[in-house]
């Protein structure tokens, strides 16, 4: 998957990860690795632009949740843990919105996957880029 990185200044420094293509089990770890690299470079607020992601499976949800854990200094899931990953996601979706990873412009069908997994309770989702940047 093609992933572009951009640094912008809002009220705080925001790193934008712009994803292009399909997101599934074949490539979701690339997205986590990219997020890890920007975290290690000092990024703490991340906007993930899904406007050009035509397809996202549950592996994409795992990737985004893992990235949210990374950005708040926690270790992401052991990806072999099956339902434990799902239950951790469920616990976090019940805990409300987190502050450091936000989503921009998911396509309607991709947004539906957020709803079906409860992740719309965990990620703020924006349709306007500047509004998203200013929200951090």
């Amino acid at each position: 998957m093609e992933i572009n990185i951009e640094q912008v200044e809002g009220k705080v420094a925001v790193t934008i990860l712009e994803l292009h293509g399909n997101l599934d089990a074949s490539n979701f770890e690339e997205v986590i690795d990219k997020a890890r690299s920007v975290y290690e470079s000092g990024a703490r607020d991340l906007l993930i632009d899904l406007g050009d992601v035509d397809f996202m499976s549950s592996s994409g949800i795992v990737a985004l949740h893992s990235i949210a854990l990374l950005m708040r200094g926690e270790q992401p899931h052991d990806l072999e843990s099956g339902w434990e990953v799902f239950h951790a996601i469920g616990r976090d979706s019940d805990s409300g919105l987190q502050e450091h990873v936000k989503i921009l412009n998911p396509q309607p069908k991709v947004a539906l996957t957020f709803e079906k997994t409860g992740m719309d309770n965990f990620f703020e989702i924006y349709t306007d880029r500047q509004t998203a940047i200013d929200s951090f």
Partner: protein, 145 residues
């Protein structure tokens, strides 16, 4: 078109996109609404991801996908040679269960249940698995019919 089959003898996760292209092409030809097609593609992806990761333990293995028109319904038949396992028996997740009581698996079957109308499991005579994902009454009649 009554059915069309796609076989990958050594299926890996990298084949997921190719499988989606096949299913998309076949289901599109049946005059199914694009939103429904996406749900079918997502369900198929989840099912095959589970076969590769859990049935074949991340190794490569045979996967056969057949797209069938059954009256106004679309059925996706997915066959493999992995050890027999019925994913329809995975219970609906109970988030209140303690960790040690939770079954292993992923979100895949949960999403398949959200998006498909029927999920049927059968053991194959060869000792493998057949999973049938059905979306009912989605084939739109054309004006000529």
């Amino acid at each position: 078109m009554d059915s069309s089959t796609f076989t990958i003898k050594k299926a890996k996760l990298k084949h997921l996109a190719e499988i989606r292209r096949f299913v998309d092409s076949e289901v599109s030809a049946l005059n199914v609404h694009p939103d429904i097609i996406y749900n079918i593609l997502l369900s198929t992806t989840e099912a095959i991801t589970n076969i590769i990761l859990h049935g074949y333990n991340g190794e490569e293995g045979l996967i056969v996908i057949e797209v069938k028109q059954e009256d106004e319904s679309v059925a996706i038949y997915i066959r493999d040679e992995a050890p027999q396992f019925d994913p329809t028996q995975i219970p609906t997740p109970d988030l209140t269960l303690p960790l040690e009581d939770r079954p292993m698996g992923g979100m895949g079957i949960h999403l398949i249940r959200q998006f498909m109308d029927r999920i049927i499991y059968r053991e194959t005579p060869q000792g493998g698995n057949e999973l049938i994902l059905v979306k009912e009454n989605v084939i739109q009649k054309t004006l000529e019919e």
